[in-house]
Assembly symmetry: C3
Homo-oligomer: 310 residues x 3
């Protein structure tokens, strides 16, 4: 983004309370990420591996965590925490504030929660303070949402379990009467679905973050600080422990456990329990190194078959 | 879930009109599924394969379809249909009733249908009796919904066909003017999309159940009693016969037919017509046994290649 | 669809200003696509490859781009552009008009845009003329939408970037303050998500068409005339050039570039930069011919292993 008016290196160093290298009058006209920068822009970098890329980019000001040689005509802002200070600048120059604030909060909803227009809220729902429910979100009955939670637009929390029993010529539906518990500091993307427990709880643990279009089945319990990317689908009755990462479009079948610290790469399918602190790939998934070896060997198979034929 | 107050084994046997084994004063304090139960809870089991698991679980009361030896200190409720009676209890202890009921129903909408807030309904729409449309659902023109249907929140019924013709430097759009027909006893999850036919009908057959985030393309006709799990995507002009099961994240290309009773495992891709009463796996999918054999043999390929090299 | 009243071949030829073959009084009672037609219906065909199929189908009137022999008892309408004229007929017999028209447009919204009920619009949003925003769409701040754009129901434009930094025991969120730019003539399906740039722009290029349930991450830039089918997921910071086709359920990881004219088949995973004007398949994807060869060779592997064992 471009700033409404340019600021000098000296002004920004005072805002951030950090030192700078370069001319005090050096101008910053915009703020952007490394793959988007142009002349006049400020970029941030907080790992030596990327110092060169940032310093040699089109950006003319670099927010960096070490004092290094400054390229001719550029400026450095030397900060102990560039990520924090980059956020400080973008919030300052593009403040975000609620569109609407609930004045007469429904029972159970904190007066310090922000409920945007067109939100539907069921019975026996609680929503904690500083929690932000974006437009179009639908919350069914028996849903409990903690503090500092963000739920993005049109997400559906607490729909019925997908649980049917096959009879001769129709299905009987299991009545859903459990709850959804969303702990503090969770963020849930737009267009996600989190079903209620049948008679137990579906739980999203503290500080877990879900990207857009994620589906979580009934009675599934997810630990703290997990990251699930877009289009992840988790069936019912799954246990996912803390610090688990599921990349985009991963699917997890019902009734399995994924242990702490596991990472499952994109489009993989989890069909059984997974040990913690390992990386997984494939559909059905296996240890990622095993799958990579198999995929690499498959590339040699056509030649092998031709050779065998001779 | 925990009951508001404990009930005795005798009270519950009277409610369910069934016999019991154990002390008449044995207390039931909660109701839960097998993977969630704790002491005081009632659990249900209706297959001998799982009797032991249920009887030995933390649950202290077991709703079961045969009189068996009752573990010390526990109680049995012996029912001819534990699934039905479990539902009877959960409905009794957690009744579900409409948030709102449409009083002045739009033309074509049964006065016995329940239309929740923030629902948008197009022209030439009919909705049958005892059908329940949850909040945020959008129904375009020319949609006909039967009796006893449930459509969960924020689902979109009847959007335009994804049908474009490539021209030199743009696309021409095919005008969509067909219908969607949703037959009786269908249940459609939250955040599903079912597109209208271009000039024909998209049909969801009687008693079919769709999980959340399922997409059904234009002019696709789905039979009776099908089950599609989360994130299933079916392209346009597909025919799916009765009693077909598609597990999570399955994709089906356009213009194919899946015959009655086929089961397609999770994340598989259907790229051609499938025979009925068989199981399929893989992307593109094949007979599941064939695919399992191939996947198993692939695990031996790296060693084979090393051996060939020697 | 059936017409409200039958029309003669002669009447339709006058409406379309084209010639006909057959009896002037030959009746057209319905209009439908080739896989749905029955007696009385009109069907269209514009490629010699499909002439026979159309002429021999149950349809009794064929809208065709060449004068061919007309089967006994049928009629032909001979048009220079059957696709255009088919649309002309379906629009004529099933006109589509807005449910509601915004009279007092919010600032930045063209008075010639159509904004349906239950749409939420943030701050600093512009919407061009003849653009159609269907019910339930949520538009966050800083979104700019061109002319002749269609956005289908419950889609979310401009939610926050999924961008978190792991700290000891929590995540820090990167503040999102960038924009979404949707150029002219774009169509976006129902239940799509397009996130804002962090501080840059997420761009959907002119005439690009997205099917339902597509997700586009922050700062991703998509070129002109692309086609993305249902459930496609594109991560953040991706560059997709012009005329790229992604079939259903394709996933694209962050920070890669897909060059002009590339086609990626369904369920493939894009894990690296792709050259243009080629076809790709697999997860991770490779040149489609290479992947087809590998998949074919895998079918021979079980037999090979058995043979090696002997």
């Amino acid at each position: 983004m471009k700033l409404e008016k340019p600021h000098t290196l000296k002004e920004l160093s005072e805002i951030l309370n950090c030192s700078f290298v370069g001319s005090p009058d050096h101008l910053v006209e915009g703020i952007n990420e490394i793959h988007k920068v142009e002349s006049g822009d400020l970029v941030f970098v907080d790992h030596p591996k990327y110092y060169d890329k940032a310093l040699q980019s089109a950006a003319t000001t670099i927010l960096i965590d070490m004092e290094v040689d400054c390229p001719e005509g550029k400026g450095l802002l030397v900060s102990s925490d560039p990520f924090r200070d980059y956020n400080k600048l973008t919030v300052l120059f593009s403040p975000f504030y609620p569109w609407s604030r609930s004045v007469n909060s429904p029972k159970g909803v904190s007066p310090y929660a922000v409920i945007q227009p067109n939100v539907s809220i069921g019975r026996n729902v609680t929503i904690g303070k500083h929690t932000w429910i974006h437009s179009g979100v639908v919350i069914y009955d028996n849903v409990h949402i903690g503090d500092n939670v963000v739920i993005h637009a049109n997400t559906v929390i607490g729909a019925d379990a997908f649980y049917f029993q096959k009879k001769e010529d129709h299905f009987r539906k299991m009545h859903t009467c459990g709850r959804v518990i969303i702990e503090d500091n969770v963020e849930i993307g737009a267009l996600c679905t989190i079903d209620r427990g049948v008679s137990g709880d579906t739980v999203i643990g503290e500080s877990t973050k879900l990207d857009n279009q994620v589906h979580i089945g009934h009675d599934t319990v997810i630990g703290k600080r997990c990251l699930f990317a877009g289009h992840v689908g988790v069936a019912g009755c799954v246990t996912i422990e803390d610090d688990v990462t599921l990349w985009g479009q991963v699917g997890v079948i019902s009734d399995v456990t994924i242990k702490s610290g596991a990472v499952v790469y994109g489009q993989s399918g989890v069909g059984k329990d997974l040990e913690g602190n390992k990386k997984y790939l494939g559909s059905p998934c296996d240890d990622a190194r095993t799958t990579f070896t198999e995929l690499a060997s498959l590339k040699h198979l056509p030649a092998l078959l031709r050779k065998m034929k001779d």
